[in-house]
Structures are given as C-alpha cells and as structure tokens.
Subunit: 407 residues, 2 copies
C-alpha cells in the first residue's frame, strides 16, 4: 500500500486515465493469493477447485489425441466465436440442466468471467442499474463497478433472490428515471452464499424481468456439482429470450485452461462475438481443442460425479466442524458447490478479524467483498473446495480460535 | 447480412445497449476467416504465422515436462499478473531488443490484443485522441473505435511515422481542447505496411511525445522476425517512462496459446493488473506454463532463426511475383515480418475488387480496414506468412488477374 501510494506520486500519466479507471480497486481475491501460497495456512478463501482430483492421465490422453488430430489448428488463430466442435459438445453439457441451445448462439470465452465483462461492457452506461443478489459474486461486483454502473443489491434469503424485491426495486428506480439494464445472479449453490433459487421463484423472476425488459444474466458454474439431487431447471431452460447463460469448465475440469461459454439470444450473441474479437481476436484454440478431445475421449460425466462426492465430503466436514467448534454460529447449508456463508457472532467484523485469523493460520474472504455498498461486515465466506476434508476441519477449528480472540 | 438485419428486428433489448456498443462493427478479419477456410483459395489475407514450421516434438516435450513438474499449478487459477517464472523468461526475450525490464513491471495477457484492450480502456474516454500510423493495425483501430476515441492517422512513409507530423497534429488538437492520450504504433515491419521506424525518428518521436505527455504504446510482435539485420533498438529500450511495450508469443511460437505480455511503468502496470483481474481473473496458467517449459527446454532462439529464414523466402517469393506479374505496381519491401502494402493501379478499389479476387481464388485484406476514417481504398495488404512460397507466387499471379479484370 505504501509502495502503491509512492508510485502514484511518480505517475507521469496521473491526469491521463479514463474516468472509469477510478473504479478499479484492489481485488480482495488478489490479496488472498499471497496468503494462500503460504503452505502452513489453511485457505478457506479463494474459490479454487480441487484439481488434484483430476486424473492427469486423462489430460495426457487428450493432449496426445489433440497433437495427432488437430495440432495445426490448435496452434493457430481460430474463429472469434470459438471452435465449432467444442460448441457442439457444450450443448450436451447444457442439456444436463434442461437447456436446449444451438451451436450458432453459443460463444466461447476466456473463462466465464470474460463473458460477464463483455456483457457488462455491451449493456452498461455510467449510472445504469445492475441488480444483484445480497451478497453477490465479488468478480461481478468488480466488473459492474468498473463500468460505473449503479449496483443494487436485492433481498435474498435461503430460497435465493426475491422476485418481489426485484419488482419493487426496479419499479422504484425506473420511476426515478434510472435504466435498469440487467439482473445478474448465480442461481445454483451461489457464490458466496451457497443458496439455491427455488423452483417457484425461477418462474416468477422471469415474469418480473420480462415485464420490465430486464435482461437476466444467469451464471451457473456450480450447477452440476450437486450433493443430493439436481437443482431446479436452469432459468435459460425456461426462457430463451431474456436470459443470457454463462457456463464454465473451471469447476468441472480446470480453471487453468480459462475456457467458459455464453449462450445468448441471436442479436446479443452477434454483438458479443464482435466484442470478443475486438478484445482478444479469438479464444485460445489450444485450450478449447484440448477440452474438446477430453470430452470426446474421456468419461467426463464420471469425472463430474467424482467431484460431487469429493465436494460433498468436504461440505460435510465443514458443517461438522462448524457444529463442533462454533456451535452458536449461523451458516448456510449448501446442497452443492463450494461455499458456506457464515454469520459472525455480534460485534465481530470479518475484515478486521482477518489478520488474527492469518496469525492462527487460516484464511477466508470477508463478507464486504461481496457487496458494492460496504455491507457484509458481519459475514465471512468459507470455501471448502480446495483443502482436504481434514484440513477443512483444521481450518474451521482455527477460525473458532480467531473468533474467540476477537470477542 | 440479411439474417443479421432480421435478427435486429427481433432484438428485445435493442434499446438497452450501452452507447459504446454502437461502435462495434463487423471485423474485416472475421469475414476473411470464412474465405480462408476454402482450401482452393490462396489466402494472402489474415496475418497468420506458419505454425507448420514448428516442431510438434518440442510441444510434446514441453507438455510432458509440464505435467511432470507443475501440473497442479497449470490446471489451477494463477496470479492475475501471470506466472512469475514465465515473466522472468520473457525478460530474456525482450533483452534481445535492448530492453531492460523487471518481472514486477511485466504482466501476461490473453495475446497482446488484450493488452491493448486493457490499455485503451484505462486511458480513453469518449472523444480522447489516439494517434496512429497511416495505415494502422486493424485490431487497434477497432479497439479505439469501440472506446469512442477520436482516431487520428499521422503521416507515415518508408521510414515510419513522422515525429514532426505527430507534433503538428497533437499541438493542433490540444489547441482545439482535445486530450491527446496516446500514440499507438508497430515500429518494426508494421502491420499492415511492412515499414520500420528509422533510428533517427525513434529518438525524435520519444522527445515529441514526452514534451506533450503522450503515452507511447509500442506493439512489437514482429521485431525478432527480421530478414537482414535487426531493426533499431526498441522505443522502450530508449525510454522506460513514457513507453508501454507489448510483446507476444503469437508470431514466434503459436497464436493458439493466446499468450502476450505488456511491460509498463509501475503506476500503469498496477492499474493494468487490476483491469486484467477484473476482465479474466487470471491469464491461462496452462498455456503460460507450457510456454515456460518450452523456453526452458527447447532452443527457442534457433526456432526464431528458422522462422526468419522461412518468412524471408516467402517475402522474396512475393517480391519476385509482384515484379513478374504486376511490374507497374508499387509495393513496400519489408525487411521482416509478414506484410506487403500494395498500391493498386489508379481507379481500382481494393474492397470492390475482393469478390473478383475470390473468384480468382485469392484473398487479401482491403486497405480500408486499416484506417478509421474511410481512407485506404487504393491499397491492399498482402500477407505472405501463411501460404507456402510457391503458393505466395500463385496467389499474386491470381491477384494480377483480378487487377486485370478490374481495370
């Protein structure tokens, strides 16, 4: 921080930045990478999948097949929309959640984060409203802030975001002359809350948004990682006209490949392709084709099923440890995904406690990261996906000590 | 096109787009991909490297080493700034052009295109001025247009962009109350002109920009692909304070990996990292680490040297064929890189001639693609990098027929 301020003083171009640059802020995720890299710290922070559960032999097999069949294409530039073969395979993955898409309306992106960046850039002028859950994904809040949007957190409970609250907030802001452009949500095992939008609310939410011309951006990286039954059918499976759907290989295969995708209505899809080409020319052909070979050759549904068991074991370890070491503390109980949303005992601030927790050799993400308006002090996000189940327990035991020291 | 217009009519969100979305236009590069994919067409269009010249065994060796040594990291999220080991190796590559950088000031990007997107987003408000060469790289013109910038083409001749013209245009526009934010250029074997900025003009250009507080964005994908001697030292090697330097593995290794990099003064670099994290979380670790292994294990300088000979042979073929089949036609004679800039005989419009050329089974890029202001009708870009030397000759012979038919 001190260094950063010093550098600012020596910034020859300090008067040259665009107005939107003021909204670039240090990501809380980034600061956590440094902490996570210390091996003695149990990290319940960054939402990283457990890639050690992936069989490297499958990656080797996919690579060999790629080099044999398509190396000249994999090493070359490709189409801005992404590889047509992979897009066809993604239709099969999306069909598992009830979605009927087409290869034409699907575009490959550099992780689904970049899909969200392109969508936000396409729709949000300064002051336009983006509706989000309470709390919402830190990376979405960051993008919307960077676009100088007005971020409106909507009431959310254990059944997900409230359609009535969406209607109320939208009507109020529309009456105030604001443009309510889009609603962004993670309907299944949400980041960071872990909650899932109920069946009933899904249809209501679509009706509320359709009536008001609000685009729904459905971000679904965790939908296939359920522990009990599958979550309700995707919003996109219920309405193809007002839903833009984001998916990713980051949680079901590997985030290091940075391959996500977006399924959008034709007019929006057409603009997204132009925006993708402008930003990166074409998505990485090598990574796309490696995944395509993996999907062709390997039993990817079995791999997802193994991830389900693995993360369920870790979720159970987290819930067990919370009951054991922090019996009075409230938490969500997710039926899938990576995250618990924990309410701290009264008077404890999650951000202020973090240095104490790191002293106790555990890391987490403070709740304030998931709000655009300073709320969330009394919450923390606990991510159970990356450490072993045993270390999840150790981490939560250490968390209990940090809480004890902060009382 | 007819389909696209039809879709517009059915666009539920046609009134929802951000203002900047109006500036997204169909890239001429994109339309060419469809043409290029017909095997009977000799493409002198898209600036694709000849990846068939890359030894696949080297890629296999790098992959095996990666899976053995760093697979858990390669498949996981990484730091937003990019892999530290690769950044260290890039310093050695940049040193070949006289640049002394540091790992701290270097960031990895999704191709250098995304570096340019991030820089433009960081600096350009609506109406701000971006100075560019005449002609300029199509992908840069597209990005600046998307940011709603004023694109000012500066007089450029066989010695590159004119520092005097930069000074004159800047002073005129500053006097008009415009903010001249940056100068973007490809100093070596430019895309699309093939010209190289002279030694003398490099120092003058830095002085002119420094005096006026104009950031120089030096894009150098072709600098190491020289045919005779190395080009003059990079602008960044002459001044570290006002130059942001972009490099890429796309032309010296493979564009399908989408790995580029940017070296920037500390305050700018700090903001670029935040912007990169916001847009994509982290650059693809797998591709970065594959390249890192390649650089560690393989004789990459020998590979670059082989590319030099290969592209020199193709350049010679192109010049020979132009003399043979189009003796009256003027062209630049690049000392490196991928491109010739050809002046068409009087009265012929490069864009109008394209369908005739495609009938003759040859493709190129019309000169208008490289201007933001409609100029360039009387030029075409001929890219000799991708077809075999023999096919470069065949392509230019066909081009001669298309020109004959257009007279």
């Amino acid at each position: 921080m001190a260094q950063s301020r010093l550098e600012q003083e020596f910034d020859l171009f300090k008067d040259s930045y665009a107005q939107r640059a003021e909204n670039l802020s240090v990501s809380e995720v980034r600061a956590l990478f440094a902490t996570v890299s210390r091996p003695e710290v149990v990290s319940l922070a960054g939402g990283m999948p457990d890639v050690s559960a992936l069989d490297n032999e499958l990656i080797r097999t996919a690579f060999e097949s790629l080099m044999k069949n398509r190396s000249q294409f994999a090493l070359q530039y490709g189409p801005g929309q992404g590889d047509a073969k992979l897009r066809g395979q993604i239709l099969e993955i999306m069909a598992l959640e009830g979605i009927q898409g087409t290869v034409e309306n699907l575009m490959i992106t550099t992780g689904s984060q970049h899909a969200l960046e392109l969508i936000a850039d396409l729709f949000l002028d300064q002051g336009d409203v983006a509706l989000v859950e309470s709390p919402s994904y830190v990376g979405a809040v960051g993008i919307f802030r960077h676009k100088e949007a007005h971020i409106e957190h909507i009431y959310t409970d254990s059944d997900g975001i409230s359609p009535e609250a969406v209607a109320e907030a939208s009507d109020r802001m529309i009456a105030d002359g604001k443009k309510v452009k889009l609603l962004y949500l993670v309907p299944n095992f949400a980041n960071p809350s872990g909650v899932t939008l109920s069946e009933e609310r899904r249809d209501k939410l679509i009706a509320v948004c359709k009536e008001r011309g609000i685009l729904i951006v459905e971000d679904n990286p965790y939908g296939l990682l359920y522990f009990d039954g599958a979550p309700p059918k995707a919003l996109r499976a219920r309405d193809a006209d007002i839903v833009v759907y984001l998916g990713s290989f980051s949680k079901i295969l590997s985030p290091g490949l940075r391959v996500g995708y977006v399924l959008a209505p034709p007019a929006i899809r057409e603009k997204l392709i132009l925006a993708n080409e402008s930003a990166i020319l074409s998505p990485a052909t090598f990574a796309q084709m490696l995944i395509s070979e993996y999907l062709s050759i390997c039993d990817w549904q079995k791999q997802i099923s193994e991830y389900r068991s693995l993360y369920k074991t870790k979720r159970d370890a987290a819930i067990w440890a919370l009951n054991e070491y922090l019996p009075g503390v409230e938490t969500t109980k997710p039926a899938g995904g990576f995250f618990l949303w924990v309410s701290l005992p009264e008077g404890i601030d999650g951000k202020q406690m973090l240095p104490i927790a790191v002293e106790e050799l555990v890391a987490y993400t403070p709740g304030t990261a998931f709000y655009g308006d300073g709320r969330g002090k009394e919450f923390i996000r606990v991510c159970f996906s990356h450490p072993t189940a045993e270390n999840v327990k150790v981490g939560i035991q250490r968390l209990a000590k940090a809480i004890e020291r902060s009382r």
